[in-house]
Amino acid sequence: MAAVTPHRRWFLSDHPAPWLLPLVAILVVFAIYPLIYNVWLSFHEYASFRRRVEYVGWANWIQLFNDPRMWSSLTVTFIYFFAALALQLVLGMALALLLDADEPGFGLLRGLLTLTLVIPPAVTGMMFLLMEDPQFGVLSWLLNAVGLLTPATPILATPSLALAGVLLADVWQWTPFMVLIFLAGLRGLPPEPYEAAMLDGASWWTVFTRITLPMMAKVIAVAVLIRGIDLFRVFDYIFVMTSGGPGEATYTLSLYAWQQTFSFIKWGYGATLSLLMLVIVLVMANLFIWLAKVRW
């Protein structure tokens, strides 16, 4: 082995520390510190009259569990989360299967599909707000024309439809992301099982459920994890399109936390809501990682 200068010894050894150091340093400053800060904040509240943050003990945490707004926004968050995830999974898988071909034109189609990802979600929200406008929107007009919606029904102001109206923007924007992940998975599958199935004359559905799905299980799990983490924090679409309305029909936890923090300067309660969200996601994600046997 060649002689090395002492300061390079660490890079020589198989010790991961120097490799991970920059990552850990950034995460400690920008992720651990905010976490501690939020925990500290959740026991304090900004007293607007005295212009300073004051200790309030467990008040925020007690309020949290007696807050009907929190429970309703938690419900909405979960509905949004599961609906969006399910739709994006199913649609994403269907599209990936459809586009997993090498025939001419499919490369272009895959490229066009990814266009949705480069639009800022805040702008996507505005786009769909315009398209779903009951008076001027192209989408409302289309739905009216085919008779799915009466002109008297404003999508984003009808309690039963508003969430669907917001979900539409989310599903439109992120389904292509799922397609990318699934395509990556499908392209990496070994061809042998398919050849065997062909010889047996298995139907398309059998092939999909017996071969593709089981082999894709891990890919799907990772997709659920990555997308789920972001979905739980959904903010931009709702903020832009409905402000949580009508009433509280689309009012999510992240919007609640945002409003408490920025609109009403209740930093303590905002931090408490954020921590609640963090705890829920942490528990769900870890449970999922354990159940789906994801190993990194």
């Binding site: 025939e103 008076q135 954020s274 921590l275």
Partner: protein, 291 residues
């Protein structure tokens, strides 16, 4: 699987239709950029035919598109002059991507090649830093930035966007490294090369495509991020998503101008996506296919 000719044609049609449905909002948005106000609010909505104007682009980018010019554009632009904001977005996007990819690549190599106790949990921890709601990060960041002078600077936003992208970048890079057989490293180690040398001379060049794919995703997430960019900037820089909201005025929303900025802002990110599409389609499994 072999497809009969008729199913192949059907599949072609279905694929074009499906992508067409997804593409329609973009088509509509881009055409909105070319519409004067009365066309945007036409009833029924004008989809295929409409009067064309370049006015929205002239205002947003402060240029005169000579032969079609309808009115003098103010020097320095009006309120909707956003061209410098594209540059801000580009600076933040490129540098935060570079930082995130550099840090993530180093870490991912170690995570891919070196077995150590708690590696699985370490990756989980890295991933969990993405679970924090942005609101919860924004307030402490605001105070850190106030005290360090990073407020309203490119550097500040670059750091935060890099942080935001690190978890995904680490996972992605790890999966790309996992695709490269570890035997290569091991034989080089036996030949006396150092880890650092192997990383720089052998593994990194082999993972070029993966790095490109990771970089593009990081860039897109930075390019489209709203909340941090809103909270941590004031007047000296603004990114595209933030200025997009300034088209909402007290006497109406300038949809045409907003769409013009949006349409142009799609271009750089989309070019990057197309360039690395091949690698994206390979690597986005995040290592879940390896056994």
């Amino acid at each position: 699987m072999r497809w009969s000719r008729s199913t192949s044609v059907l599949r072609q049609i279905a694929a074009w239709l499906a992508v067409g449905v997804f593409f329609f909002p973009i088509f509509f948005w881009v055409t909105t950029a070319f519409k004067p106000a009365y066309e945007i609010f036409n009833q029924p909505p004008s989809v295929w035919t409409f009067d064309v104007t370049l006015r929205n682009f002239e205002e947003v980018f402060g240029i005169s598109l000579g032969f079609l010019r309808q009115q003098e554009v103010l020097p320095g632009g009006g309120n909707f002059y956003m061209a410098p904001r594209l540059l801000d977005s580009l600076i933040v996007g490129l540098f935060s991507t570079a930082l995130a990819v550099a840090v993530a690549t180093l870490a991912a190599y170690a995570l891919s090649r070196m077995a150590f106790r708690g590696r699985h949990h370490f990756v989980n921890w890295v991933l969990s830093t993405r679970m924090m709601p942005p609101v919860a990060v924004a307030i402490p960041m605001f105070f850190i930035f106030r005290d360090t002078g990073l407020m309203d600077t490119h550097l500040g936003l670059i750091l935060v966007h890099a942080l935001m992208n690190l978890p995904l970048a680490v996972l992605l890079m790890k999966s790309f490294f996992d695709d490269i057989p570890a035997e290569i490293d091991e034989s080089a180690l036996i030949d006396g090369a150092s880890r650092w040398l192997i990383f720089r001379r052998i593994v990194l060049p082999m993972a070029k495509g993966g790095i490109a794919a990771t970089a593009v995703l990081c860039f897109i997430f930075s390019w489209t991020e709203f909340l941090f960019a809103l909270t941590l900037t004031q007047t000296s820089l603004k990114t595209v998503p933030v200025v997009s909201s300034t088209f909402v005025t007290s006497t109406g929303t300038a949809w045409g101008n907003m769409a013009a900025l949006g349409a142009v802002a799609m271009v750089p990110a989309f070019i990057f996506i197309l360039l690395v599409q091949r690698h994206l389609v390979r690597g986005l499994t995040l290592g879940s296919l390896k056994q």
